[in-house]
Symmetry: C2
Subunit: 330 residues, 2 copies
């Protein structure tokens, strides 16, 4: 019994074994050769899942909202996966644990698969681990995957923004909470939610959003603004309709395919860049590096000459040397 | 007459031709093969110059202070170079121009070489261009080089912090102006200056700095805090004494050599990483890349398989594939 063998785990996951799904996600989190193997095995089996990113400042009610959306989706009979992406910050660890407890509402529902994800050793961190995790759920036959991030930092917004439909959750008086990355949120949002809309300031928040959207030049569809009170379930059906509406818009306009193609481009560039960066770290250590450094310190070799030597040794040097000024065919 | 030929320019610069120095610095700014050639030619000629980084928030009086320090240094008979590093932000462009006008006090003094530097095409930007620019001044025989940056952003603090002695300039009520990168400033400072010390709050600024320094665990020498009123020349001689004192401390403790060796390590890693990054961008375009992307979109190949293919084609692949989990000998 090779329970950690990716091949056996993928077969089990496809056959409906949720424990196998969990073990595959652990392999993805940990990174390395096994994660890559999981990607190789699951990728050809997928392509059916629709992903929905949900992001917003901590405390904005994202988890409650996701929980409510899962209820709505389950009433349609569809199975659903939820990935709660946690960048493992000591400041947010507590919050996400609390959120997860609330999500236990669905713990006994076999049609819902919920998993918190951090990144341990995955090359490129959450930005590269999350698409691989979605592929595991996709291969396991879950037609919908919610990807919820715990904050509005650059990586979190990027992760949520890499979904098919991205929902940005704000609250009345939202300005301060998202100030640091407001432009990033406006950029990725397909749908805005004003959660806790029963609190004072909801109409002001709507006007602020409208104004920000007027200002941001957008070629594609203008994000609708949905008001919800997630704890009471208010507005959640309307939000689900907006998500389905955006899905239909993407599918009928050809934008879904174009968007996924752009994501593959980004992912390939990121994998290549991270692998090369990793290579640079490997190259700048050990005895050969120490010898080159000595030569540079003794002024027998200049730093660029030493770098050329390192790159040549790695097979990554080019005959022309540094040619960042050469015309490109890009 | 090949006036842009790096070899001829370096010979002329060494012989005292300041026009040749200016043209060499333009080549460094522009980057590419010529900049690399300038580095190759100037590096073996240098090693005598002592560099002094000066950083602080815009408006803190760095340029006036540098100007005054140049006066003090010139009275000792020593020649001096000043590099004003400008990240070309539209928001700071005006400020540095104003600063440069003030520096014209020294315009007719042949013992002072002043130059504003931006980065145009240099690989790795100012962080990599600045050491190369210092080497040009070093090869040209200037024994002292002031490196002044226009703000307290991460790159600017990094650039100033890569000097032999780093001076951080604050003002009374300094907290807000440097809040975003306070930790970075504390990390790089060898000497603190409270400029405009005739204004209210100078003693509070000193107490704040003392407290911050108590808090920051430091093994090396504790940065002195010098009060200046640069416009009136007050405290400038004392600041120069502190700079000379720090220089003596570094030289006698062996820390100067150790610090320069660490900087060479950092620079080599940075050059290698930037070259590999550049390689990644080159690899992710053109017809072969388009074919791989198509295969990924058609799910004939997974993204990691495609990335392997790209890296192999570049000679940067490794037989073992992604092995970020392998034990390292680091």
């Amino acid at each position: 019994m090779r329970s950690r063998d990716p091949d056996a785990l993928v077969s089990a996951a496809v056959a409906g074994d949720r424990g196998a799904v969990a073990r595959l996600l652990s392999l993805v989190e940990r990174g390395g050769a096994a994660a890559q193997e999981v990607g190789r095995l699951t990728y050809p089996l997928g392509g059916q899942a629709y992903s929905i990113g949900i992001t917003g400042a901590p405390g904005s009610g994202k988890s409650t909202l996701t929980n409510r959306l899962v209820e709505v989706v389950r009433r349609t009979g569809s199975e659903v996966g939820v990935l709660a992406i946690d960048p493992s910050s000591p400041f947010t660890g507590g919050a996400i644990l609390g959120d997860r407890v609330r999500m236990q509402d669905h713990a006994l529902d076999a049609g819902v698969y919920i998993r918190s994800m951090a990144t341990r050793g995955h090359l490129g961190g959450l930005a590269l681990a999350t698409p691989q995790a979605i592929r595991v759920l996709d291969a396991a036959g879950l037609p919908l995957v919610f990807v919820e991030t715990v904050g509005v930092g650059q990586v979190e917004v990027e992760v949520a923004g890499a979904a098919d439909t991205t929902v940005v959750v704000v609250n009345p008086g939202w300005g301060d909470a998202v100030q640091a990355n407001k432009a990033g949120l406006l950029e990725v949002a397909d749908i805005f939610v004003i959660n806790k809309a029963d609190r004072p300031g909801a109409q002001q928040a709507r006007r602020d959003l409208q104004e920000a959207l007027d200002y941001a030049t957008r070629e594609r569809h203008r994000p609708p603004i949905i008001e919800t009170v997630a704890v009471a379930g208010q507005g959640v059906a309307e939000l689900w309709e907006a998500i389905e509406g955006h899905h239909s818009f993407l599918a009928s306009s050809g934008e879904l395919e174009a968007r996924r193609a752009r994501r593959i481009d980004d992912e390939l560039r990121e994998i290549v860049a991270r692998r090369l960066e990793q290579r640079a770290h490997e190259l700048c250590r050990g005895e050969p590096f120490a010898r080159l450094r000595r030569a540079v310190l003794d002024r027998e070799l200049d730093p660029y000459g030493a770098a050329e030597d390192i790159l040549r040794r790695a097979g990554a040097g080019r005959p022309g040397g540094e040619d960042d000024q050469e015309p490109s065919d890009d």
